[in-house]
């Protein structure tokens, strides 16, 4: 299981990486915005994408839309982990095809639950 974490803050990437390790996921890569993430997703096969929304360069929602528009990546499960908490934004992410939405600040339990939910549904 190969996972890509996209967040512009290195501390947040590190927190998520640690939580994923606790959940038994050790194969994790990082990117700091959509512009760096998209080529990584296109060149290597990832099984799961965790992305922030508000990032310089390409935002998380643009990344999500690009992933869904790319024939090869369209089925990739995407979890959004973000401080953006407006209802209209959550609806926008849902319409863009997000698989889960976690608002910051979040707990280890919430992240675990969403990840498990996504993979139970996928399998």
């Amino acid at each position: 299981m190969k996972i890509l974490i996209v967040d512009d803050f290195s501390t947040m990437r590190r927190i998520i990486k640690n939580l994923l390790r606790d959940l038994g996921f050790n194969n994790v890569d990082e990117a700091d915005d959509g512009n760096t993430a998209l080529p990584m997703l296109q060149s290597v096969k990832f099984d799961f994408l965790i992305t922030d929304w508000n990032m310089p360069g390409m935002t998380g929602i643009e990344l999500l839309k690009s992933v869904r528009a790319d024939g090869k990546l369209a089925q990739l499960p995407v979890l959004m982990v973000t401080a953006e908490a407006k209802r209209e934004q959550i609806i926008e992410a849902a319409q863009a095809g997000v698989n889960g939405y976690v608002v910051k600040p979040f707990t280890a339990g919430a992240l675990k639950e969403k990840i498990e939910k996504i993979f139970n549904r996928a399998s």
Binding site: F9, S10, T11, R14, I15, N18, W53, N54, T59, A83, E84, A85, K86, R87, E88, I90, I91, A94, Y101, V102, V103, K104, F106, T107, A110
Partner: protein
């Protein structure tokens, strides 16, 4: 203002009188007086306002304060730039603290795992002894293992203690960033006060000069990506992860 109004009404009365008396020369003179009164008061008021505007802008503590007043003589650091630097400093401090804390946690997790692994291994041996299933050789081995484990756990506990203490110390940023942020909040309040004064002055200028303008629609828009929301009473934002889950399940997720 009152003095000006009185002058205007005096000249206006003279104008009416002269007009009714059919003395157009004197009527023109009255009109002239009216215009002069307007000009004089304008100059006075604008002079006053310019001084106050100048002071207010200086209170903004912007770079432009120096440009406005080249005779000030001293080079004062712009407080706006200073505030930006201070906030940048807050980011650096909090980032360092987060990294330091995570270093310590990442260092401690394997230590705790080692302790738990060795104690459960020892526990198995110990149970064997309690069940009296242990040979003499095995017992001598356990005897040595127990001694090693006690040393080992002592050493690892010291490591954990040192790491926890380092995590505690890494929280000292809270005090420092709190002080810095308070200073920036004070500056924001000061600038807000100066801005309100400027707006009041602008409206005075409009009253004096008789300038009217249509209400310009503010082109201020809520920033689309606003990040963490401090005001949880707003109805357009979710309060918790539960709200997010409810919203998504109402959309069929």
């Amino acid at each position: 203002m009152r003095e000006l109004n009185q002058q205007i009404s005096e000249h206006a009365a003279a104008l009416m009188e002269n007009l009714q008396a059919g003395d157009s020369t004197k009527a023109w003179e009255a009109i002239d007086q009216l215009a002069k009164a307007r000009e004089r008061s304008l100059f006075q008021e604008i002079g006053k306002l310019t001084r106050t505007v100048h002071e207010s802008i200086k209170n903004f503590h912007l770079d432009s304060a120096e440009q406005l007043d080249p005779n000030a003589g001293h080079k004062s650091e712009s407080r706006m730039i200073d505030a930006t630097d201070r906030l940048q400093f807050v980011i650096t401090l909090t980032e360092n603290a987060a990294n330091k804390t995570m270093d310590m946690v990442e260092d401690s997790v394997p230590v705790a795992k080692e302790l738990s692994d060795s104690s459960s291994k020892l526990k198995q041996e110990w149970q064997k002894l309690m069940r009296r299933e242990m040979s003499g050789d095995e017992f001598r081995e356990l005897y040595k293992q127990m001694d090693k484990f006690l040393d080992f756990s002592n050493e690892k506990a010291s490591t954990l203690e040192a790491n926890l203490s380092a995590i505690l110390m890494a929280q000292d940023y809270q005090d420092l960033t709190g002080q810095v942020i308070k200073k920036v909040i004070n500056l924001v309040h000061e600038v807000e006060g100066s801005l309100v004064k400027l707006v009041k002055m602008a409206s005075q200028i409009e009253t004096i000069t008789g300038v009217t303008h249509e209400n310009v629609k503010s082109d201020y828009q809520d920033e689309y990506l606003e990040g963490p929301v401090a005001n949880k009473d707003r109805s357009d934002v979710v309060e918790s992860q539960d709200d997010v889950d409810d919203l998504l399940s109402s959309l069929g997720f």
